[in-house]
Amino acid sequence: MSFDVLFSQFMSGIARGALLFLVASGLSLTFGVLRVLNFAHGSLYMLGAFLSYSIWKFLLMPVLGFYLAAVIAALIMGGVGMIIEFGLLRRLYARGWPEQLLATYAIILIITDLVKWAWGGEFLSIPRPRPFTGAVFLFGFPFPSYNFFIIILGLGLVVFLWWLVYKTRLGDIIRAAAQDREMVSALGIPIPWLFTWIFVLGAAIAGLSGAVTAPFGSVALGMDIEIIIECFAVVVIGGMGSLPGTLLGAFIVGQVYAFGILFKPELALAFIFMVMAVVLIIRPWGIFGRPER
């Protein structure tokens, strides 16, 4: 196999990993702090994508339209997140995790139908926004420059989350809450408030990620399930609730997918699950995760 094929697969794996990190970071953050595995995270991502499409169409702005639509979609999804946390999840924290899981599963069903009703079952897409329409040459090989936009966005999110979690007062609370919820309560920090904003942040990031996938031409029903399964693989491999773990997991899954396609396209997803199964068997809590309790 020649170098250019390997290199181009590697780069597309990086881009895919960046996208996966965008989505999975919100899932992981929510789980780390709220201890709720949000099955509906992929649905928030899908809704964000559809919303940004409609906003983009409505704005009719040639250059800024895409970016503006993405930001607005993210903000709206933040609001949706607030409704979900405030209206539903908040009442379920005292219940067992199976009920929480089922509640988020119900949200999937509701959002799916909502999207079907509002947008129908067609494939939608937004053209690549300027200045990311062309190709970039790396070592003489062309790559879609939009992939670099995704990678930059992913890196930006890494830096932002790293700053948020490790450098701010809120971050101290987030990390404390991930370890010992009672301790944070004892410190006099209002947990419900923290939970709401974390969920809102996760939902907004999901919405933003959905919006930026629109130029890949994959805005359609079913994109929620597709992404959430891969995100599960990411957070399980990296360790649920761990930011570095999510980054590593996203990188691994992106690469496995890119090279899996090269090897046997039908089984790309299967390879991801194999990696996931192996990790779970060796380290049931993921590479950077820590055991429950």
Partner: protein
Amino acid sequence: MEDHHIEGKDSWIKRGWWLILLIIASFLAPTVLSEFYLSVLCEALVMSLMALSFNFLFGYMGQLSFGQAAFYGLGGYTVAMLLTKAHFNFWLSIVAAVLVAALVGLVVGIFCVRLRGIYFAILTLAFGQLIFTIVFKWHNFTGGDDGIQGVFPPELLKSPIAYYYFILLVFLVSAFILWKIIHSPFGHTVVAMRENSERTEFLGIHIAKYQLIAFVIAAAFCGLAGAIWVPFYRSVAPSYLTWIKSGEPVMAAILGGPPIFLGPILGMFVMTFFHAWVLGFTVYWPVVMGALILAIIFFLPGGILGFAQEKVRQRKERNHQLQKK
């Protein structure tokens, strides 16, 4: 376990009369039901079998499997392929389907039983999706997203009514076997593992081994459910293996009441008939289902039967206190 009191022999008929009535009613059902509702009833029975086997793991062992559809689908595909491609004997095909599901359950189970709680749910989900992907993408062998059509039962079971009785019998026998297992020493051990796995281990129980056996049993019954459904529906498709399908027994169990044997059956009947009824005037079934799930979680904690049981218990306690006064 649902019966804490120590039973007396003579009370059996007294307590079980409604069950006998239900079984008699189910045998008479084809005489009153339209063909449409008879097929809905068939589906409800088949899915109830799946829900029962799921709940053996969830309600009794305390492990939520989000990948049961894989075994259901494998059972269905095995029967479909043996009947259409190998022109195999119908009865042997059913047996083969159960064996295939159990065997795959054994392999998947070896990996999964090491995990607990949400991690078990995710890993079973992942294995389920893995099996789905293989079936979906392996076009030459499984027909890919077209599935397999023209799966016919033998002459004896060609009519819907005859097949209904076949499904009913399989369901009743399977439910009885599962009930026996749950109340056997093995079932007692499984419940004890749910209640306190550390304690149980110190009583000399090798936890992983028992979880694996339970997982294989559940996989086998799921496979059986898929195997008897496909010849009735005449076809099989990859959607039988999706996680949406895996979610159905989870919903049914929580809807009906997981720690109660009949809970998932009731849950599945409510869901299936509700589904058939709602489809009469809207295609937006999932949103109705989603709202129903949320309503149950919020307003009927413990599920329908769990909620009813709690109410009955409260009333008994109140009567008891009144008598004391």
